[in-house]
Amino acid sequence: MGKGIAITGMGVISAIGNNVEENYESLISKKIGITKISHIDTVHKNDIMVGEIPTTNSVLETQLGLSPDSWSRTSLLAVIAAKQAVTNAGITDINAFRTGLISGTTVGGMDKSEQYFYEYFENDKTWHHINGLHAGDSTQKIALSLGLKSSFTTTISTACSSAANAIMLGARMIKSGQLERVIVGGADCLSKFTINGFKTLMILSDTYNTPFDDNRKGLNLGESAAYLVLESDAVVAKENKKVLAYVKGYGNANDAFHQTASSDNGDGAVLAMEQALKVAGLSPDSVDYINAHGTATPNNDLSEGRAMNRVFNGKVPDFSSTKAFTGHTLATAGAIEAVYAVLALQNNVIFPNLNFRTPMQEFDLLPETELKQKELNVVLSNSFGFGGNCTTLLFSKEA
């Protein structure tokens, strides 16, 4: 029986709010963050919808005391969310315990790299962005902003399961005794790179995304940053910390089917969910709510739905995808949805799967479409990515 790893702080910035409280308010009042794109000048602006954070770079820079055009938007969002998490955990001396940082990102500083790709050779005022193409650069900026020195820091990039995998690694590093405390999560901003990339894959919806609906047309890209603080039992006891929830189980598996598509029967997803339950020492019937990956692409929702049916033997617990609120925030999806899972546990609520009208033909799964009050003890969260990467996290009220 696995013992959970304590979550003692969290922070988030997304299209539906600049902090945890605002995100929660939006989730319970059905306030969605999907709009036309405003910060990026793309030729696709009239045929896509996105989950864009309204705050401009210049406002974020002012908030962080940076001069204009200092950092990639990914780093700006990341530092804001990570600082919230550390403050929320009541940490005053970041180096007091053996503290690590694990961040997930897919685009890193791509927003600046694509902007200055040719200009680098003409304008030396852009040169501080050259190294920002390294995904690790955003992580180092978070680490230095938090005051982490001589610390274990790393970056994970497994596409849309990156931050989920950061949470999983953080839990394992505390379990193995390598770290006493770790800040885990991820950050990704919108970029032309991802907009055009997903456009070529023809999985972008031209309207509001509709997870698990038979007429779903694809995903809305989003941007966000979200971080959580995990602490060992010894630190929690010593500091008399309030525990928000626990990372109870985790599993990562590979679909080994296709570079960008999920297998028809969701083999990787089944393995990830089963492994997470095994690590937690829980049976499927102890899961009270599933926050699904539910990107609203034809492929994902079919594959994930079949996988849920397999793991839960046809008795799938209440489930919903919150991507209709935020869009698919790529690397960060696993972290922002971890925050939502903790909020669900704290408030005993299931967030609605918005925009659902028509059940899928392939199975009789019906997501929760209204806010539902229910005593929750265990929440399962899925995140799946390119490269066949499948991750499941289990969050619980009790250790």
């Binding site: 793309t42 030729v43 696709h44 940082l101 897919t106 790299s113 694509e114 790709f117 040719y118 680098y120 050779f121 030396d124 040169w127 050259i130 190294n131 193409l133 390294h134 995904a135 690790g136 650069d137 992580t139 180092q140 680490a143 982490l148 020195k149 001589s150 610390s151 274990f152 820091t153 790393t154 970056t155 994970i156 990039s157 497994t158 596409a159 995998n165 690694l169 394992r172 193995s176 390598q178 790179f193 055009n196 990339g197 456009k199 070529t200 894959l201 990562n252 598996a253 590979n254 679909d255 080994a256 089917f257 570079q259 960008t260 083999d267 990515g385 390119f386 490269g387 066949g388 990467n389």
Partner: protein, 355 residues
């Protein structure tokens, strides 16, 4: 009780002819340049030509290197695949960006975007061997590869896996080189391999490579060494280095005297090589010293080459003269320490023991 971790096989594609796994730097390729590409194996021996046609070079190099490692370990499959890369298949990323700009976001095709995903190599290896196990990709600058080692050790020690394939890969591509030349991260003036450390100029000689290893909980005939410990540090001040190394060794109940060979990450950058001098002229002044970046060049996962090098030294019991940094003789080293950093950040310590 902690389980032991063994390096059971190696695979390398680098600026030296290392893809022939039976060799160990008997034949040295010397460069007089500011960049070094890999010596390419005959990829057709490993990858069907139709598949290789649009395949990113990072995937190709990794296919060869990982297959070499799997073959030597006598394995068709593993429980986990963990890959480190500073920039992934960046040639595809750069071509996708330039196509977006040049074609005004029109007429794009998905292949380059798909291969731009940092985890494309770990995903492709999993697809190739049908591995449904744990699959991670670390992208943390010069500690990308070392992050893999840390993760693999946890896998084996927590008994999450029995055999783990770990690797590091990075590509050398024009736009990346040209932009990093602008900011003096790459040398402006060519330097001869043998004189790298005497260049006294800013920047490194940038290169590429792919290194894979099977780490296992069980020792076997092919075992090279035991991996004792790995730690990374996001930043370290020069005045903290010696105490950090001492503390790391102490965690493993060792003192600096117990180290038979120290492999230092000197890359010829006059600004940051002093970090290595601190150890070479300090606590390890009387210890045999080696360096490898005149052979491999510098890249985010050049630590993979140093790890390959140390494994080979352990297995053969000999230190190739070309990599020997000082006059302290050594045969059959029992304990090897590797220290690397890049531009004063991303420090790592790796400890190997004979077994």
């Amino acid at each position: 009780m902690k389980k032991r971790v063994y390096i059971n096989s190696v695979g390398s594609v680098s600026a030296q002819k290392t893809f022939e796994n039976t060799l160990f730097l008997e034949e040295i390729t010397s460069y007089n340049d500011t960049t070094m590409g890999v010596i390419n194996p005959n990829y057709k021996d490993y990858i069907p030509p139709a598949a290789a046609r649009r395949m990113a070079k990072g995937i190709k190099m990794s296919t060869v290197s990982s297959k070499t490692a799997l073959d030597e370990a006598g394995l068709d499959n593993v429980d986990a695949i963990i890959v480190g890369t500073g920039l992934g298949c960046i040639d595809d990323s750069e071509k996708f960006i330039s196509a977006i700009i040049d074609n005004k976001e029109q007429f794009l095709t998905p292949t380059r975007f798909i291969q731009s995903s940092h985890n494309t190599v770990s995903g492709q290896i999993a697809l190739g061997i049908g591995c449904k196990g744990y699959n991670y990709t670390y992208v943390n600058g010069a500690t990308s590869f070392e992050s893999c080692l840390i993760d693999a050790m946890i896998q084996l020690q927590l008994e999450e896996a029995e055999n783990v394939l770990v690797g590091g890969v990075d590509e050398l591509v024009p736009h990346h080189v040209n932009t990093h030349r602008l900011i003096n991260h790459i040398k402006k003036i060519p330097v001869e391999s043998a004189h790298l450390l005497a260049s006294k100029t800013e920047g490194c000689v940038m290169a590429e490579g792919a290194h894979f290893f099977v780490l296992s909980e069980k020792k076997q005939a092919s075992t090279y060494a035991e991996l004792i410990g790995v730690r990374t540090y996001n930043i370290l001040a020069q005045n903290q280095l010696a105490q950090t190394v001492t503390a790391f060794l102490k965690e493993h109940e060792l003192s600096s005297d117990a180290i038979d060979l120290v492999v230092l990450g000197y890359n010829g950058d006059v600004t940051f090589d002093p970090y290595y001098d601190l150890l070479a002229k300090g606590m390890f002044a009387d210890t045999a010293q080696a360096y490898t970046k005149h052979l491999s060049g510098e890249y985010d996962t050049a630590g993979g080459f140093a790890f390959w090098f140390a494994s080979k030294v352990m297995r053969t019991g000999t230190l190739p003269a070309v990599a020997h940094l000082n006059k302290v003789a050594i045969t059959k080293p029992k304990t090897i320490l590797l220290y690397n950093q890049y531009r004063g950040e991303y420090h790592s310590l790796v400890l190997l023991r004979q077994c």
